[in-house]
């Protein structure tokens, strides 16, 4: 048994790092990525649709981008994200994916507004691929961090993708109707991955069981309107809880 006390001013080892803006970014970025992955694929394949999904996805992307901007402490140095590409850094991948996703989703939206079918297909396909990348990358970003036990598992990747797709389908069901089967399949998949993460990962925060129950299991059983609200709420809670789970390091770093 070991007990550790610290003699330390602020500075080394004292700080929680990513705050609530990152949770907002994770939610909005994931949801936008999921929406663009689904709607971009549909429109690239020539299926009909309305302007609302890409418009809301673009708005969510802007909120995600603003949250990131708000969170970085040295805003004047933001150019440095795009002065280098560091293949070993998931955040570098994310920064470049976001940079490409903004114009792609803007062109996708523009194509729909101007009824330009070629632009819709091309920008829709690009948005779908980049949107999936945006939904995936946060899972990678967290799962590679060995220093954060609660995040260090490859299961976080399918949890984040599943959540992005399930929330996107929930929003599409509200906006466009339909998607009943797909929504439930995505929800069950996400919940299974989340439960697998909770059961197999010793450092997983127990509070996530509530997110799994109220944001995953119950919405699959309850009437759809209530289910959709619970899914969106559960996805927000999932991001906040996972983010909070690994903020503070253990006292004993030896």
């Amino acid at each position: 048994m070991e007990v550790t006390f610290l003699q330390s001013p602020e500075g080394m080892g004292s700080a929680a790092f990513w705050g609530w803006p990152i949770a907002v970014d994770l939610f909005c970025g994931g949801l936008a990525g999921g929406l663009l992955a689904i709607e971009g694929t549909r429109r690239a394949l020539g299926k009909p649709g309305s302007v609302r999904p890409p418009a809301i996805a673009f708005l969510l992307l802007c909120i995600a981008g603003l949250s990131l901007f708000f969170d970085v402490s040295r805003k004047i140095g933001l150019w440095a994200f795009y002065a280098a590409f560091v293949p070993s850094s998931p955040m570098s991948w994310g920064a470049w994916i976001l940079l490409a996703l903004f114009p792609a989703s803007f062109l996708f939206l523009g194509g729909i507004l101007r009824k330009n079918e070629r632009l819709i297909r091309a920008a829709g396909a690009a948005s779908a691929i980049l949107g999936l990348g945006a939904a995936m990358y946060t899972g990678f970003l967290m799962s590679v961090l060995q220093a954060r036990p609660a995040w260090h598992t490859p299961l976080l990747v399918p949890v984040f993708i599943g959540s992005a797709i399930a929330t996107a389908l929930a929003l599409l069901a509200v906006m466009e109707g339909g998607y009943g089967v797909a929504f439930r399949v995505a929800l069950v998949s996400e919940t299974l991955f989340l439960v697998a993460y909770l059961m197999t990962h010793p450092a997983a925060p127990a509070s996530l069981w509530y997110a799994a129950a109220f944001g995953g299991l119950l919405p699959a059983l309850l009437p759809r309107r209530i289910g959709i609200v619970l899914v969106l709420g559960g996805a927000v809670a999932l991001r906040f809880l996972i983010l909070a789970a690994s903020q503070l390091p253990p006292l004993n770093l030896q």
Binding site: V3, M12, A147
Partner: protein
């Protein structure tokens, strides 16, 4: 090419935190921030209780997760294996803080990530001001250096070896505690 390392003798460290104060003064960090800290770790071995003081700082790892995860290349390997931060390229995104298993980094008042830089490879202030001469600094690859000699003749450990980061701060373990 030199490889700088720090060696801290757990037998001699008193936990006085002079290293913390020396760091604050030398690097003009003010009274509220420091790039070093002292952890008091009480442990039990059989019926005996042991108290060790660990003077902790950036370990300048040979396989540093902060460098690997930095999205801009601001965290990089500099001369002689030092892990350095290019402040002009740092966005304060805190990816390095999330990646460091030793919590050696923090965000400075100016917004960039900050940490121990071994005082740029000159004799670090913490080493120079340690009242019990428990700290040593030098080139790991030079047979003439005190750090190389101590690591050859004494048992040592690195923090969190399971992280696989290959730290360049070594702790000489207490011979008395080993015998106990």
């Amino acid at each position: 090419m030199a490889r700088y390392a720090m060696v801290i003798d757990l037998e001699l460290c008193l936990g006085c935190a002079a290293c913390v104060t020396a760091c604050q003064v030398k690097n003009e960090l003010g009274p509220r921030r420091s790039r070093a800290r002292v952890a008091e770790v009480a442990s039990r071995k059989g019926a005996r209780l042991h108290l060790n003081f660990y003077s902790e700082r950036c370990n300048h790892c040979a396989d540093a997760p902060c460098v690997r995860n930095c999205p801009t290349g601001a965290s990089h390997y500099a001369e002689a294996g030092l892990v350095s931060i290019n402040r002009s390229r740092c966005t304060g995104c805190q990816a390095c803080i999330a990646a460091c298993p030793y919590s050696a980094r923090y965000i400075s008042a100016e917004g960039y990530a900050d940490k121990c830089d071994f005082c740029g490879g000159r004799e670090p202030a913490c080493v120079a001001n340690c009242p019990s001469s428990a700290m040593y600094f030098g080139d790991l690859d030079s047979p003439a250096s005190e750090v190389a000699r101590l690591l050859k003749t004494r048992k040592s450990r690195v923090p969190r070896p399971e992280s696989g980061t290959r730290p360049h701060v070594f702790y000489l373990t207490s011979r008395k505690q080993e015998r106990a």
